[in-house]
Each structure stands twice: as structure tokens, then as C-alpha cells.
């Protein structure tokens, strides 16, 4: 089973935005909410002429331990066998809790579809053997996509042998699978200006109440109900049918037998005998 990931080569990337336009047009995200992937300039920092500039190229990281999965109340968002974090649009109710639960701002609400939208690593294309749109279009060949677990792949080498870096901090280390190689100074600028947000590791306050209180409570009540049922069932099994409806109380007359007929009137009784 492949485990997909991507490497962004900061030495090659020129920040041209081709990848964003390719993704927008491939997946037809609305122009004003385009967010499946992004190219964000970090303008020159420093003092002339000792300056550095960088480009933060990002997309959903399809993390090892995605913080967005448990925020979803319907189970619409899931992680497939290849590690891709996806949204089942049939189940998505557009509540947006998962949007808040991504420290990389990788998810967004698509107002046209009225669902949550995000990078899918171009799953439908990749599953047909075609590389993601962003990777194919990149004019500097700065994106490397592939199976992290294939020792013959470029990405395996870049990540496991050459030490491509994860955009993680001590506070947010959920195992993103978009890595960065190249200029350490540029990577450092990205980490400083766009670190993963530790306050976005779960759903929003309303969703937090849902997640921390209501959802566990709901399951607790449901669980207790089932537990109660289970206890009752096993108790019946062990003790027999003692409390059934037709079990008479001990020492009481037999209700099933009819009452004896009342004796007839005495004069009717004598007359019958004297005829």
C-alpha cells in the first residue's frame, strides 16, 4: 500500500503561482476562495543588502496524525489507506469544525459546493497513474510527489536519506507529509512566518464543546443504555424467567381454575325434587 507524500524544493521554487492556477482550474474551486494550495511570498527580511526572502508553498499535508479527523461530527472526513486525508461530500454537512482543526489552514468552506474543500493529492488522477496537477505544471520542477514507502522513489530518498524537513514545532507535531528541502535560511523564514497554529489543533469553541462534552456525553449515554440492556439480558439468562408476566405469586390460589357455581335458590331446588 503506498503512503503518498510531497517534497517542495525551496531552491527551485520561484513563487510563480503556476501550481495554484493549475489546482484551481483542475478542481474548479471558486476564484475568491481558492485555497486548496497556496503560494505566499515572504518578502525580503533584513537590512539592505543582507536580506533573505522566501516563498511558503503549502497544501494539505495529509498528516500522519491529522487533527482534523476527530473534529468531524459526521465522519465525512477520513484518511484512506494511502494516507490521504479526504472528505466524503455525501456525508459533509459543511459545519466547518474541521476547518478550524487544521493548524496549517489547509481546509476551507467552498461556498459553491456548500461543503468543506481541500487538497486531495489529486487522488482521482493519481489513482489512474497521473501525477498531481501542481506537480506536473511546476515550471521549476520544484515539487516531488510519490510513495514515501517506495525505497526506489525520489521522495523516499529526499525524505529519509537527505533529510527533507517537516513544517513542525514542538507544539504542533502531527506528522505532515509535505516536506521541504533546500535552503535552510528560506525554510527558517517559512517556519518563523507561517508556523502551524497551536490553537487550531481541534475544532472551534462551539465545536470544542461538541467534541469535549456533548459528543462524549452522547456516546456515554448511548453506551450506558447499551450497557444496561446487556446487563439485563445476561441477568435473565442466569436467573431464569422469574419475573415473567404469567408467573403466579407463591401460595396463591390457582387463578386459572373457574369459581364454583353459586348454589341455586332453596325453593327452586325443592320443587325440582318433588315433581
Amino acid at each position: 500500500m503506498p503512503r503518498y507524500g510531497m517534497v517542495i524544493d525551496l531552491d527551485r521554487c520561484v513563487g510563480c503561482g503556476a501550481c495554484v492556477l493549475a489546482c484551481e482550474t483542475e478542481w474548479q474551486t471558486p476564484p475568491d476562495t481558492r485555497r486548496r494550495n497556496w503560494v505566499t511570498e515572504i518578502p525580503a527580511q533584513g537590512t539592505f543588502p543582507n536580506v533573505e526572502r522566501a516563498v511558503y508553498v503549502g497544501l494539505c499535508n495529509h498528516c500522519d496524525r491529522p487533527s482534523c479527523l476527530s473534529a468531524c461530527p459526521t465522519g465525512a472526513t477520513y484518511q484512506d489507506d494511502a494516507g490521504r486525508v479526504l472528505v466524503d461530500e455525501a456525508l459533509c454537512i459543511g459545519c466547518g469544525y474541521c476547518v478550524h482543526a487544521c493548524p496549517y489552514h489547509a481546509r476551507f468552506f467552498n461556498p459553491v459546493k456548500q461543503k468543506v474543500d481541500k487538497c486531495t493529492f489529486c487522488a482521482p488522477l493519481v489513482d489512474r497513474g497521473i501525477a498531481p496537477a501542481c506537480t506536473r505544471t511546476c515550471i521549476a520542477d520544484a515539487r516531488i510527489f510519490g510513495d514515501l514507502e517506495d525505497p526506489a522513489s525520489d521522495i523516499h530518498r529526499l525524505v529519509y536519506l537527505e533529510g527533507a524537513a517537516r513544517l513542525e514545532t514542538p507544539q504542533v507535531a502531527i506528522g505532515p507529509n509535505v516536506y521541504y528541502r533546500g535552503s535552510p535560511a528560506k525554510f527558517d523564514l517559512i517556519l518563523r512566518h507561517h508556523p502551524p497554529d497551536p490553537e487550531r489543533i481541534g475544532p472551534p469553541p462551539a465545536g470544542s464543546i461538541w467534541q469535549r462534552v456533548l459528543r462524549p456525553a452522547m456516546f456515554a449515554v448511548l453506551g450506558l443504555t447499551f450497557l444496561g440492556q446487556a446487563v439485563a439480558f445476561f441477568s435473565q439468562l442466569v436467573q431464569g424467567e422469574k419475573f415473567g408476566r404469567f408467573e403466579p405469586p407463591p401460595d396463591e390460589p390457582d387463578d386459572a381454575l373457574p369459581e364454583p357455581l353459586p348454589p341455586s335458590r332453596p325453593e327452586e331446588q325443592d320443587h325440582a325434587r318433588h315433581r
Binding site: D11, L21, T25, T47, P49, V51, E52, D188
Partner: protein
């Protein structure tokens, strides 16, 4: 070298006329057996290979058509240069096709010229009017009274038409406002231009030198890819630019040069390379001429002299020259593209060419390679060599190519009496591309007749008497491209991905229509562009159908011949140019110091954003959503000293008191003080382009001065200065001259170090990070 199995050397021999492809009627894409099928989402799509024209780099594209609608544009993996890559603009080409503001049919002016009021008319009416007017002007004033400004792939057909009509009053913006100086310089030195795409072998270079070329922000796809590859293979990058461009941030050496002093740097490099015997002695002895005179000429121009001129530390000038010596001949000295800067530009480009020659890089791997001899069939309607002396003074611009300078035509249109009476403007928004647009507008009002051919209702169309709408690149054929300037040469076909949406025509048909209306259809024997393509292919053994199916056919090339082929008069590389001397122009490069900034003013310099093609794409909805405004970038220290803050809204007023619209200030440490930098082409003033109207501010409106290059007539445009005003109050820029400097980063070893967990010591003192944007806000658009 990979050779196409279908095209052998015999393919270059002329075949009999019977094999020339007959006119082919355009077929419906869906029914066409030549078309491959693909998918878009869960729908079946027809795939059509073609060539992009969001800019003029000609990357390969593949259009996906579902139920007759273009749904996606991707790169064509078969294109030997772009290999499936496609920039932001190429991906966004769908919006050009479906742009609601597109010209939908011919238009005739109603009301005064310049107000952009038109009524729709038929093609027959429109062409009849154009033909009649051209005929009248030619008959009354002579053919030179009819002028042509052209740009784009289809401009070569009307250019040829002009020649047949006898007019020499033609101007190509891509020469006179762009490539001119380097074309002249390399032709003088080597006997040929460096080509487009430039024939720099970036992939195999050991050292790469960029003078102002901001590759990456200039999204010339294959060249960016080759640069990235060359750097990945370990080339050392030297970037000479007053601005910390994206590519400067990848450089080993960033030389933040004082604007206008590049020639001084080049002369010092030549001086050092000669003094330390870093040049290829054998190569120079065998192939070059004038070396001894060059030695004498550069004697005074040492690194210390150049430091005082350029603001670059002498040690860096010497170290980079030594680098070239160590890495030659694999030194890719990029010849530049837009080289019309200060009016002394052919001299600067000559210095680049001379240094290239000294290093033995011309015709060598890692340097500059040779074009392929690939030839297509010639149509009698193909333009020939430059016409003889037209409306330019005889003693000027001897080394120009592609017509005469635009300003000659404009001045001749305003003369008393005017020598030029009618204009045909083709695929060129003159009011954005040619400097001093105010003068152009005056000329437009003087003319007796103006015909404009365009795709969108740009500013220039608003001045037309007749507008003829051309089909977009997605709806038409163009003549087969013979790409000679690639290590893997090829033929490429631009073909319709969808039929024309509106009542538009391809450039060939428009030209033919005008010629017929003028009474000269003898000049264009082909009935259609398809027939013309057939003639082109007649010299090969490739069929039209094969080319339609594949889009690309590779051809042989010999980029690195054993012996350089030199087409100069002397048959040698002319370090000393006798041709220049014969015209009383400096035969060896001369440095002219730039003028100083007027007190309180900044020099206006413009470049590119990768999301747009100057003014061409500003109405594009997809691209506009990313970049819809052009900031004015100012050095942060200088800006703060003026009282500016990042994000301030200001106006700019130039040396001729012309004032721009509002501009947003971006303060940056990545720009040498003394400069106001922006992206060219914004501030569109055609209300018919509803999305692009008034977006940003126009640098061209402030380019009222231009410096004419004596060798070519090209217009140097970096000679305008601006004062910044906020709320109408002028803010004087203080004089701020940094000490001589240079930046060296040991990039290779830096890259080898493991990425840091926390802020590393090696990064420069950083400004405080900007405030974090609110959750889910869109990322900021644009950058420095």
C-alpha cells in the same frame, strides 16, 4: 541527441507540389479521429495539443474539451522545452477564451475618435472600409504614409502585406522597446542574434550570470526550468540587479548594482579576465579579431574604477571574474531580453557579447549554443529582409532590425504636414507598450485613419476607426513554428482547440481580407492559413494531419558544432567592430555614467509579476484574483526617512509633472535606495475592459522620457524619475548611498547543512514577523 524517426535529412529537401497538403477544413474536435480522448473529472474529454500565447514563449499546451467547451488547459508533455510545465498565465488561458469583454465582431467608430464608441458592422463592410482607406492614403501620399505597428505571432502576415504594398513604415515593439540592443550587439559580434528563446545552455553551465534578468518572476517556463536544473547540478549563480529578485535570492553572488552602470562592471570583468589571462587564448586567437585593440581599450577599467561607478565592492568584481575564468567555457552569460534601458544599451550588450567570446562560451556546452538549420517551405508572402531606408534620418539607427523605431512613426504622424497619415495597429496596445503615450494619443488624433486588430478592447482599440477582432490562440491556426533555438529543435503547431466563439478571424484571414479590399490579393496566394501551413510543410515529410495529431515533431539539431559558424563581415568574432567604426559609433564598448537622480526623486524601474503578461492579462478573472494591483516598492530605510509606512497610498509625479493614480507603497530592504520599482502594464484605462479598468497605476504614463539608443533606435525607458506624494504633499527621498558592497552566500554548503529546528544564527537580523492574519483569511497577494 534524440532524432525523430519520422523526419530525416531528406525531409529538408523540397518535395513535389503534389504532396503539398491541400486546404483542410476545420473539423469538429469531438468527431475528429486525430484527437486523443482523455478525462476531466468523470466526463470524457477530447485532448487537443497546441501552443500557448498568454505570452510569447510558446509553451506546449493541451486543451481538454468536454461537450464543445474548453474546461482545462495543461502543459503538453511532448513539448521538448516546456515538457508539460505551464505557468500561471497558461493555466488561466481559459478565461481569455470566455472573457465576456472580448471583441465579438468588427466595429466602426461612432462619435469622436478616442471615446471608444462603436457600432457593430459586418466583416465585408469593415474590410471594404479598411481597404478603401488604405488605397486612398497610398494613392494620395505614397505607401510610406501607411504605418504598421505589430506584435505577436500573426503580425508577420500584415508585415508582409506592408512590404507588398510598398510601405517601409513598420515598427516591431519587441525590437524597439525590448530586444533591440542585444540583437544588434550579437549580430555585430557573432553574426547572429542570441535567439528567442535565448540559446543559453543553463543546464550544463558551471557559472550563470544574469544582468537584471529576473527569471522566475519572468515566467519563461523552459528557461526557468533549465535554470533550476543548472543550479541543482551545481552551477554558481551571479545575479547583478539593484533589486533582491527571486533569482537573486538563489544566487551565490548578488551584486546590487547602481542602476545604469552595468557596462562599467562588464568592462572591469573584461579587464580582469584579460589581465589575469583567464580568457581562452586559443579560441580567441583562432576565431576572434580585434583582441589587441580590446586590451588597450579596457586598460583603465580596473575593479577599483568600476567599484566607484557601480557601488559593487572591487573584491567582488575581481572574485566573480576569477570565477568565470575557473568555469569557462561553461559560463552562461545571459544576453538579456528586455535590454532597452538607458539609451546606451547596444554598447552594454556588446560588452556582454565580448566577454562571452573571451571565455570561449559561444558555441560551447554551458555557454551559448547554435540554432538548428531547420527550414520550412517559404511562401511568397513571407516577409523578406528589412526594407531599405524608410522614414528615419539616413544617418541614424544603422543597426536596427524589424522596421523603424516607433517614435519615428509617431513624430512623422505629428509633423507639419504629416508624413504618415494612417496606422494599422496589430496585436499591440501601443498606449501601454510605447513610452510617452501622451504623444502617441496626440498622433492618434491627427491621423486620417486608424485600424486596430486585437482580441480584447484594449486602450488602443478605443482610438480606432475600424476594429477588426482576431480569434484567440485557442481558436485558430498559426503558421507552423520551426523552433530552431532549442538543443532539441522541433516543429510545433498552434491549432484551434475550439472553433471561434464569436465573429472573429485568424490573422492570416484578416490580412488576406485587407489585401483583397486594397486590390492586391496577388500578394497572398494562399487561400487560408491551412493552405499556408501546407506550403510550409511541403519541404518536410510531415503531413498536416500528423502535425495536428501530435502537435510537436522533433527535428535534428547541432547545437555545439566543432567549429563556430560566424556570419560577421570578417568571418570572425568581432571584438572590435569595424561596422560600428564605419558609422562613427564606438567600435569597442563605451560606458556612459547614468545621470544622477534629481534631488528628492527616485528612478522609476519596472519589471514583471509572474501572474500577468504586462497589460495583456489584466482582464483575466483567474489571474486578477491573485494580483490586481501593482505596488510601488521603495527601500525601507529610505522610505521611513521620508515618512512613509508600508501600505501607504501615494501618488507619483515624474520629472515632467505627470502624476499617476494611487499606488500602494511596499517598503523593502530588498531594493537599493534611489529606486521606485513596480510591475509594468497596470493602470489600464479602457472602460471596455471592465475587470482590468483602473487596476493599479500605469508606469507607462509616467514614462514620458526615453533615451534613444544610437545604434538601433531602441527606446531606453529607465530614465524617468518620480517624486512621491501622500495626500498631495510631496515627500522628498533623501540621498542614501550605500557603501560599496556585494553579497556572497556559500549556497552549496548552506544547502548541505541540516535544516534548523529553531532560528539559526546564520540568518540576518530579521524584522519582526508581520502580524498573523486572521484565521481563514486569504494569503496576501503579490510580494516584493
Amino acid at each position: 541527441m534524440k532524432r525523430s524517426p519520422t523526419l530525416s535529412r531528406r525531409g529538408f529537401l523540397q518535395l513535389s507540389a503534389a504532396t503539398a497538403a491541400a486546404a483542410v477544413a476545420p473539423r469538429s474536435a469531438a468527431a475528429d479521429p486525430l484527437r486523443r480522448k482523455g478525462r476531466f473529472g468523470d466526463r470524457e474529454a477530447v485532448l487537443v495539443p497546441s501552443i500557448c500565447e498568454m505570452c510569447f514563449w510558446k509553451c506546449g499546451i493541451r486543451g481538454k474539451v468536454v461537450d464543445g467547451r474548453l474546461v482545462r488547459l495543461e502543459g503538453n508533455p511532448d513539448h521538448p522545452l516546456s515538457r508539460g510545465r505551464l505557468c500561471a498565465r497558461g493555466n488561466a488561458g481559459i478565461d481569455l477564451l470566455y472573457d465576456p469583454d472580448r471583441l465579438r465582431g468588427p466595429l466602426e467608430r461612432v462619435g469622436p475618435r478616442g471615446q471608444g464608441r462603436f457600432r457593430p458592422i459586418s466583416w465585408d463592410e469593415a474590410l471594404a472600409r479598411v481597404g478603401a482607406e488604405f488605397r486612398r492614403v497610398i494613392d494620395a501620399y505614397g505607401p510610406d504614409a501607411l504605418a504598421f505597428f505589430g506584435h505577436g505571432t500573426s503580425a508577420k502576415y500584415p508585415l508582409s502585406m506592408m512590404e507588398h504594398l510598398g510601405s517601409r513604415t513598420v515598427s516591431s515593439a519587441s525590437f524597439f522597446q525590448c530586444r533591440g540592443p542585444r540583437e544588434a550587439a550579437y549580430t555585430l559580434t557573432f553574426g547572429m542574434t542570441p535567439g528567442s528563446p535565448e540559446r543559453v545552455d543553463l543546464e550544463q553551465a558551471r557559472a550563470i550570470v544574469l544582468l537584471g534578468t529576473h527569471l522566475g518572476e519572468n515566467a519563461h517556463v523552459s528557461q526557468v526550468a533549465h535554470l533550476a536544473e543548472g543550479l541543482a547540478r551545481g552551477a554558481t549563480l551571479v545575479v547583478v540587479d539593484p533589486r533582491y529578485s527571486v533569482v537573486a535570492s538563489k544566487a551565490d553572488w548578488w551584486l546590487p548594482i547602481r542602476p545604469g552602470t552595468d557596462t562599467a562592471l562588464l568592462l572591469a570583468w573584461i579587464h580582469r579576465v584579460i589581465e589575469r589571462k583567464l580568457y581562452d587564448e586559443e579560441y580567441v586567437a583562432r576565431y576572434a579579431t580585434g583582441f589587441e585593440r580590446l586590451v588597450e581599450h579596457v586598460r583603465p577599467f580596473d575593479a577599483r574604477w568600476a567599484e566607484a561607478q557601480t557601488g559593487i565592492a572591487a573584491s567582488a568584481i575581481e572574485a566573480t571574474a576569477d570565477l568565470f575564468g575557473a568555469t569557462r567555457p561553461a559560463v552562461a552569460l545571459h544576453p538579456g531580453r528586455q535590454t532597452a534601458w538607458y539609451g546606451n544599451d547596444t554598447q552594454r550588450a556588446r560588452a556582454v557579447a565580448i566577454l562571452t567570446a573571451l571565455l570561449g562560451a559561444w558555441g560551447r556546452p554551458g555557454g551559448l549554443f547554435y540554432p538548428s538549420p531547420l527550414q520550412l517551405g517559404a511562401c511568397p508572402c513571407d516577409p523578406k529582409d528589412d526594407p531599405a531606408r524608410p522614414l528615419c534620418p539616413d544617418d541614424q539607427y544603422h543597426f536596427r532590425q524589424e522596421g523603424i523605431p516607433a517614435h519615428c512613426i509617431i513624430e512623422n504622424s505629428l509633423a507639419d504636414p504629416p508624413a504618415v497619415r494612417a496606422w494599422l495597429v496589430w496585436g499591440q496596445n501601443l498606449l501601454q507598450s510605447v513610452p510617452y503615450p501622451q504623444r502617441t494619443a496626440q498622433a492618434l488624433q491627427r491621423l486620417e485613419f486608424v485600424c486596430v486588430v486585437d482580441i480584447l478592447p484594449t486602450e488602443i482599440t478605443q482610438y480606432a476607426d475600424i476594429v477588426l477582432p482576431e480569434s484567440t490562440y485557442l481558436e485558430r491556426y498559426d503558421g507552423v513554428f520551426a523552433e530552431r533555438n532549442a538543443k532539441q529543435p522541433f516543429l510545433a503547431l498552434r491549432q484551434p482547440i475550439v472553433p471561434p466563439l464569436h465573429d472573429t478571424r485568424d490573422g492570416f484571414a484578416i490580412t488576406r481580407g485587407i489585401l483583397e479590399a486594397v486590390g492586391r490579393s496577388d500578394c497572398l496566394p494562399c487561400a487560408s492559413i491551412e493552405e499556408f501551413i501546407g506550403l510550409q510543410l511541403a519541404k518536410t515529410d510531415i503531413s498536416f494531419d500528423e502535425l495536428r495529431r501530435k502537435g510537436i515533431v522533433e527535428a535534428p539539431g547541432w547545437p555545439f558544432p566543432d567549429e563556430p559558424k560566424l556570419y560577421t563581415d570578417s568571418g570572425r568574432i568581432e571584438l572590435y567592430s569595424q561596422a560600428l567604426a564605419d558609422k562613427q559609433l564606438p567600435p569597442l564598448p563605451v560606458y556612459t555614467p547614468p545621470e544622477r537622480n534629481p534631488p528628492g526623486m527616485l528612478r522609476l524601474i519596472a519589471g514583471r509579476t509572474p501572474y500577468h503578461s504586462f497589460a495583456r492579462s489584466l482582464n483575466n478573472r483567474l489571474l486578477d484574483a491573485h494580483v490586481d494591483d501593482n505596488p510601488v516598492f521603495v527601500n525601507d530605510e529610505q522610505g521611513r526617512a521620508m515618512g512613509l509606512a508600508d501600505g501607504d497610498r501615494v501618488e507619483l509625479e515624474n520629472q515632467d509633472q505627470v502624476r499617476s493614480g494611487p499606488a500602494v507603497v511596499r517598503l523593502t530592504p530588498g531594493l537599493r535606495p534611489g529606486i521606485a520599482y513596480t510591475w509594468h502594464g497596470f493602470g489600464g484605462r479602457s472602460p471596455a475592459l471592465r475587470r482590468g479598468f483602473n487596476r493599479g497605476w500605469s508606469d507607462n504614463t509616467l514614462t514620458t522620457r526615453f533615451a534613444v539608443d544610437p545604434e538601433t533606435g531602441a527606446s531606453g525607458m529607465r530614465v524617468n524619475f518620480v517624486r512621491i506624494l501622500r495626500d498631495g504633499v510631496p515627500l522628498d527621498a533623501p540621498e542614501l548611498e550605500p557603501p560599496p558592497t556585494a553579497v556572497f552566500r556559500d549556497r552549496k554548503h548552506e544547502a548541505a547543512a541540516p535544516p534548523p529546528a529553531a532560528a539559526p544564527a546564520s540568518t540576518p537580523a530579521a524584522a519582526a514577523p508581520p502580524p498573523r492574519p486572521p484565521a481563514d483569511s486569504a494569503p496576501p497577494k503579490g510580494g516584493c
